[in-house]
Amino acid sequence: MKCSSLALIVLFGFNPQTVLAQAIDYARSQITVQSRQMNVPVEAPFTKFNAQIVFDPLRLEASSARVDIDLASFDIGDADVNENVRDRNWFDTKNHPIARFVSSSIRSLGGGRFEVRGPLTIKGKTQEVAGPFTLKTNGADRVFEGAFAIRRLQYSVGDGVWRDTSVVADEVQVKFRLYQLGQKPASKK
């Protein structure tokens, strides 16, 4: 068995994404969206998501991030609104339960700041997005924090009567804070 685990390490050693992807502490992570209704900023989180981050500031070309968001976990704090947002006009979670971001490139902006870029798919529509993020360390742990703007109508989020951007603005800020534990995951779930 020793041999095979060594073989595994060797095998996955060729694929740093698998080896270096460290566990995310979801209790200390969050992904929120901030929209503007009648110019009133309203922020709400997605309580369920999955993130895989491989990040080496010295090897950005080998670094990557992939985030899957459970759209039905959107929680604005009002049951009626939550219900509506799962509806066809908004996320249509029945047909499109997951929003997915996969990084295509990460570059340094200097001073502990980086920019991540890649396709974001929501409701079956894919758009290239890019946004800056910062890297902070907390002991061996790492915190990635950043934001990017999307245009909701490009994804048909808020369709029908909601297309009126004088009520809900087209631009939506997506903010993320991903807390990656420093230790390697002790065991797979």
Partner: protein, 206 residues
């Protein structure tokens, strides 16, 4: 200067102001009157609007009307403070009433002032606790004194509603007594706030 012969034929100079033209009861200042009626009008819009909006299903129209309701509320709050400041600067003329009536009216007026200031504040806090900031006219964002807290938001919603129903009852009493003074007592109380009205003289020939 007009002159008139007295009953024994002597002519006296009379005062410049004809006594019969004088307001029997001095009115509020035009500023106070203006603020009173503007605030009344705004509340007469915001009150039913708030009631209506709370029953609407989630829709763009609902969000728009909520915003308008909040803008009116903020305006009422500012005008109420202005009104109170003006009242301290220019106290209203004393009510031509008995001591007891004067005290009762004073208490109701104090409560009305308290409510038109507290109701917008309670709405603003409710909105903050619900996680929705208030942006006056879509331009000026008010600070949020409270963090998002669902349970607190529900409580504040009830507080806001209760204060509003209290206001409705008091306003009905306030207006009812004003009309009673005007139509029954004919004592000029209502004329203080609506100077164009004349004190209704007793029409019985005497």
């Amino acid at each position: 200067m007009r002159t008139a012969p007295d009953n024994i034929g002597r002519v006296h100079p009379t005062p410049v102001i004809d006594v019969s033209m004088q307001q029997p009861h001095p009115a509020y200042t035009p500023t106070a009157i203006g603020l009173h009626w503007i605030i009344f009008f705004l509340i007469a819009c915001a009150w039913p609007l708030g009631q209506f909006v709370s029953g609407l299903p989630f829709s763009p129209q609902k969000l728009r009307l909520i915003a308008w309701h909040k803008w009116i509320g903020v305006t009422v709050f500012m005008l109420a403070l202005l009104r109170l400041a003006w009242r301290l600067y220019r106290p209203p003329p004393p009510l031509p009433l008995s001591d007891l009536q004067r005290r009762a009216a004073g208490a109701v007026h104090a409560l009305l002032y308290a409510l038109i200031i507290l109701i917008p504040i309670s709405g603003w806090l409710f909105s903050s606790a619900a996680g929705v900031p208030t942006v006056y006219l879509g331009l000026i964002q008010l600070p949020d004194l409270l963090h998002k807290d669902k349970a607190l938001a529900q409580t504040l919603n009830q507080v806001h509603a209760t204060l509003n129903w209290t206001l409705l009852v008091l306003v009905c009493g306030h207006a009812g007594f004003a009309l009673k003074h005007h139509l029954v007592d004919r004592d000029g109380v209502l004329v203080r706030m609506i100077p164009r009205l004349k004190v209704r003289k007793s029409e019985s020939p005497s």
